[in-house]
């Protein structure tokens, strides 16, 4: 420490998490495994056009419902399409779907939570009741209803899922904002004449963000499962585009002729959801100050 910085509070957070991050990676095998899996999945999604052995939509009536072979590692589906290629092309759709839903939830939920937590009073009362009302809906049922109204398709389906998730984030951010707003150091900052904007940007956002990061990671898994469910119900990804949920729906129709087809898409959904969940849990432990250094 050779120089004295003008604001030590700003310099500290930039330094500390980095070493905490490295400690976490070294000590947490679960996190390393899930990150590795997710990085590979992102690579597969980005490189899908180059690594998929066949086109995901080319039909071939001469090769219907073939079992796994050297040419088709996972066999072919009821239209003669290569299952491995469809599985690979399902990755970008699934990741896009999860990120879109969670992105919508963040954009809608976080500002609302910050605002009502900070303002309090009757606005908070009313909006909080509205959030309670939204949380009373069975999430998938509400998402299906909203999707039906907007029009079926992957983007609309995931906008709906994001809308359904938003109140969860709003509630977490609100609770966190309330805690920080009344903390002694915020009172002190206010006493020093800090502006409202300064308090929100410098104190409330950084403190509220940690539970949000954890929740958002866990939400990616729920969004993925929701996408698979909606695509299974043919409300999400529309044919001929590939999706893991849609592949399971097709495989289910031919379950007696080609039972092997129901394994790969299900495993893909399970592993990806597991990876998101494991990452979220690891981050919860890493970011929670009370759980550190036990």
């Amino acid at each position: 420490m050779s120089s004295i910085t003008a604001s030590p509070a700003a310099a500290r957070p930039a330094r500390k998490p980095r070493s905490a991050f490295m400690r976490w990676v070294r000590s947490d095998l679960r996190a390393v495994l899930s990150i590795t899996y997710l990085v590979l999945l992102i690579l597969v999604a980005v490189l899908a056009p180059y690594i998929a052995p066949y086109s995901p939509t080319d039909q071939n009536v001469a090769e219907l419902l073939l079992p796994p072979s050297a040419e088709h590692w996972l066999g072919t589906d009821d239209l003669g399409r290569d299952v491995l290629s469809r599985l690979i092309w399902g990755a970008p759709n699934s990741l896009y779907a999860s990120l879109l839903a969670v992105g919508v939830a963040i954009v809608l939920g976080v500002p609302v939570g910050l605002l009502i937590g900070f303002l309090g009073g009757w606005i908070d009362d009313i909006v909080s009741r509205f959030i309670d009302a939204l949380l009373s809906f069975p999430p998938i049922v509400l998402a299906i209803a909203v999707t039906g109204a907007l029009g079926i398709g992957l983007t609309n389906a995931m906008l709906s899922v994001g809308f359904v998730f938003a109140p969860v984030l709003a509630r977490i951010v609100r609770a966190q904002t309330l805690v920080v707003k009344n903390a002694l150091y915020v009172d002190a900052a206010r006493g020093f004449g800090a502006s409202t904007r300064h308090i929100i940007v410098r104190h409330i956002v950084p403190n509220a963000i940690q539970p949000v990061i954890v929740q958002v990671t866990l939400m990616l898994a729920i969004a993925l499962l929701a996408e698979a469910s909606l695509s299974f119900l043919s409300l999400g990804v529309q044919p001929p585009a590939a999706s893991w949920g849609g592949m399971l729906a097709r495989a289910y129709n031919y379950i007696e002729i080609a039972p092997a087809q129901m394994y790969a898409p299900g495993m893909a959904i399970l592993l990806t959801a597991l990876a998101f969940n494991a990452l979220g849990e690891s981050m919860r432990v890493a970011l929670d100050p009370t759980m550190k250094r036990r």
């Binding site: 939204l134 069975p138 299906i144 209803a145 907007l150 119900l233 129901m262 399970l270």
Partner: protein
């Protein structure tokens, strides 16, 4: 008894704004439909007269709040409109199908409680052990497992493979209770996995917290046995949390039922809402969503009241 009645009334009063907002959300669904709602509701090949008739019928020419009030007034009287596809009253469609959904949801909840709670207790009492690690990993797996995939695997192996259970359909529980339960078993198992995992996790963490508290340590120091501590103090303190967690699962069960009913071709409320959403039968979609959300809110009310009976501290809140 008087206190109970007063408690129920007070809770209802608190729930009123939530119910009003929820109905408002259900009504607003129609406003999300792009274009003129009258044209949408009239269907693809409707005549100009028919569109005008629908506009009059639903009052689309009137202010939004008047439309909402009218819709709510009808809904309170049990009139949810008519299906655009079959023109049957929506409430009749729902009442025909809701029992099938409630059967698999209740069945699943019972299975989950019978498996999930003991798993959580076992893990919590042996926190940090291999048993605990095993239960925690299984729970993580259960949370991430797509229930409809499990459903497909169950059909493939237990219905088509071994012929133990019927693969599809449902029977009315009032007419053929045995057959009905047999049909509901696989759907209930598929629906229960996620809930078992969730219950095991939550019971585990709640119980670990209680068992680590000061007064439990004091009891242990005074020589009270582990079983007495677990049942007389641990479980009793967890019971309120447990009830709340169980209540929250109803939401999850209804969500899961949509896909599970599709897999098992069960004519339930979930498959009705999915089918109606795809076919743009909005009165039915709104009706099912409304009935389910009211159901969830009522369950939460019951949970709330039961919690305050179990724990007098809750009643004061």
């Amino acid at each position: 008894m008087a206190t109970l009645a007063r408690l129920v009334i007070r809770r209802l009063w608190q729930l009123l704004p939530i119910i009003i907002f929820a109905t408002f959300v259900v009504f607003s669904l129609l406003q999300l439909v792009p274009g003129d709602p009258a044209v949408t509701l009239a269907g693809d090949y409707a005549s100009k007269e028919r569109i005008e008739e629908i506009r009059q019928l639903y009052g689309f020419d009137q202010p939004f709040i008047v439309q909402y009030g009218r819709w709510l007034w009808h809904a309170i009287q049990g009139d949810l409109g008519r299906s655009l596809l079959s023109s049957a009253p929506v409430i009749d469609l729902i009442m025909q199908r809701l029992p099938n959904t409630l059967l698999i949801a209740t069945y699943a909840l019972i299975i989950s409680a019978l498996i999930g709670i003991p798993l959580g207790v076992i893990a919590a009492t042996r926190a940090g052990s291999r048993v605990d690690a095993f239960v925690t990993s299984v729970a993580s797996l259960g949370v991430a497992l797509p229930s409809f995939w499990l459903a497909i695997l169950l059909v493939a192996n237990l219905s088509l493979g071994l012929n133990w259970f019927p693969a599809t359909g449902a029977r009315p529980i009032t007419v053929e209770p045995g057959r009905a339960l047999l049909h509901a078993t696989l759907p209930a198992i598929a629906l229960a996995t996620g809930v078992i995992a969730e219950l095991a996790r939550q019971v585990r963490s709640a119980l670990i917290e209680v068992l680590g508290s000061q007064y439990i340590r004091t009891l242990r120091a005074k020589g009270l046995g582990p079983i007495a501590i677990l049942w007389k103090h641990g479980m009793r303190n967890v019971s309120v949390t447990l009830l709340t967690i169980l209540g929250l699962q109803v939401n999850r069960l209804f969500s899961g039922a949509v896909v599970i009913e599709a897999v098992f071709a069960i004519p339930g409320a979930g498959s009705l809402v999915a089918y109606s959403a795809i076919n743009k039968d909005f009165p039915v979609v709104q009706g099912v969503v409304l009935v389910l959300v009211v159901f969830v809110i009522v369950i939460n009310l019951v949970v709330d009241v039961l919690s305050s009976l179990l724990d007098p501290r809750v009643a004061e809140a």
